[in-house]
């Protein structure tokens, strides 16, 4: 239990550091702003109680907000994403459910499952985040293109991280 907790706290700190120190400083293009830190929400154990999931996501979003000086913007997106996580997990569960002692990672449930899981949640997060950032619908399509490109890069980064860091 303590190990699980400490591991998640370390994960929390690491994703935030990667996001804030590395990705936020890389200006590839105006179109691409990857938000890799949502990986933390994706990787929380299956058994995480709902309230903890929501609170952890809120704190994660708020921490990123504090670094980026945009209070509320990331926390709105993260909480929404966390809210959708349990129903999504139920919807895409393998035929015999999730085995005890496993985590929602690529190495446990395969590339296809993990891709579905990641694409949907990352898209939700990025859609909310970018539309809240512009806060109007008049630039709907240019925002939408930004969402698509940034999500693509975020998803690629998250998948790559699965192969390099979170091996079995």
């Amino acid at each position: 239990m303590i190990r699980l907790l400490s591991r998640n706290i370390i994960c929390f700190v690491v994703v935030i550091l990667i996001q804030v120190l590395l990705l936020n400083n890389i200006q590839i293009s105006n179109l691409i702003n990857p938000y890799f830190y949502v990986l933390f929400i994706l990787l929380l154990p299956f058994e995480t109680p709902g309230w903890l999931l929501l609170c952890a996501s809120f704190i994660l979003g708020l921490t990123v907000d504090l670094f980026m000086n945009t209070p509320g913007m990331h926390s709105v997106s993260c909480v929404a994403m966390a809210f959708l996580r349990p129903p999504l997990l139920a919807a895409i569960a393998p035929r015999d459910g999730y085995d005890a002692g496993t985590y929602p990672r690529l190495s446990y449930y395969g590339f296809e499952w993990f891709l579905k899981y990641t694409v949907i949640l990352v898209l939700v997060h990025h859609l909310l985040l970018f539309y809240i950032e512009v806060f109007r619908f008049s630039e709907f399509f240019s925002t939408f293109i930004k969402v698509i490109f940034s999500s693509l890069i975020s998803i690629v980064l998250i998948i790559i991280s699965q192969y390099f860091i979170f091996r079995k």
Binding site: L62, S75, V76, V79, A80, F135
Partner: protein, 276 residues
């Protein structure tokens, strides 16, 4: 209470989600300049829209009060106008007005309570009576033109004999040449009356203005009655002129009552003369 707690526990995930999202939105609106500006812009435009609509509805309900106020103001202005005209007239004639009658006509306004237009002998009821100094044979007009004459009076109400009553004869004249005749209503259309007694040699045109003659000592001279809409020659030497009435009797709401303060004097004098 226990049910409430059970409800909260059962839906804690949704409730916590809503709570955290509201908190985030609060932070978002409160600490981000751009979002705050658009948010307040949006709310104030919604607010403005709502106020506008509600204001429109409220204005609509206030219309009756506004109408009443306007009618009152009109009465006041007409009274002042009459006083000024009389002063003007008297000063032109180099005549000194008698101290007890610096004015000839007094105006007051009333609201129409009951009205009929579809009978041969129509009447209008108004909300003023003898308590408000209404007397029979006072003139009644509306902002558009002549309505009729006060027929009978109770303490709180009066009945008006309008132009749309076959018993009413109004002394009217053609404004451009001052030939006068008698206006009656044939009992057909609510928009048309007949002016008779205009001799055949008078030149008429459709659209000529008909006004009161002022000979009856009831109406002041020159109140608008209507316009000529057609005329034929009757046997004899008189026209029968169709007059389109200025007042729409079907939607009458406010009327003015005109009292001629010098009427008694005129009538008494005339009676003495004609009885001789």
């Amino acid at each position: 209470m226990r049910n409430l707690i059970q409800l909260i526990i059962r839906h804690h995930f949704l409730l916590l989600f809503l709570l955290l999202e509201s908190l985030s939105f609060f932070l978002l609106i409160h600490y981000n300049h751009f979002q705050r500006a658009s948010f307040t812009g949006f709310t104030s435009s919604v607010e403005g829209y709502l106020y506008d609509k509600f204001g429109g509805v409220r204005d609509y309900f206030n219309l009756r009060k506004v109408n009443e106020d306007l009618a009152k103001e009109n009465t006041l202005l007409r009274n002042q106008l009459d006083r000024l005209q009389l002063l003007d007239y008297r000063s032109q004639e180099n005549d000194v007005a008698p101290p007890d009658s610096t004015r000839q006509y007094v105006f007051s306004q009333a609201r129409v309570l009951n009205n009929s237009v579809n009978k041969e002998f129509n009447f209008i009821t108004i909300d003023r009576g003898s308590l408000q100094n209404i007397k029979p044979e006072m003139a009644v007009t509306s902002p558009e033109g002549v309505v009729g004459i006060v027929f009978s009076v109770s303490r709180h109400f009066s009945v008006i004999m309008p132009l749309l009553n076959r018993n009413l004869r109004l002394s009217a004249k053609i404004r451009k040449n001052n030939y006068f005749g008698s206006l009656t209503w044939p009992g057909e259309s609510t928009e048309e009356a007949i002016l008779t007694d205009i001799p055949y040699h008078v030149k008429l045109d459709i659209g000529d203005t008909i006004v009161t003659s002022g000979y009856s000592a009831i109406f002041p001279e020159g109140l608008f009655v209507g316009t000529i809409s057609g005329f034929d020659r009757l046997q004899g030497n008189f026209y029968q002129i169709k007059v389109k009435l200025a007042v729409d009797f079907r939607n009458l709401e406010y009327v003015y009552l005109i009292e001629n303060l010098l009427r008694d004097e005129q009538v008494t004098l005339e009676e003495n003369q004609y009885n001789d």
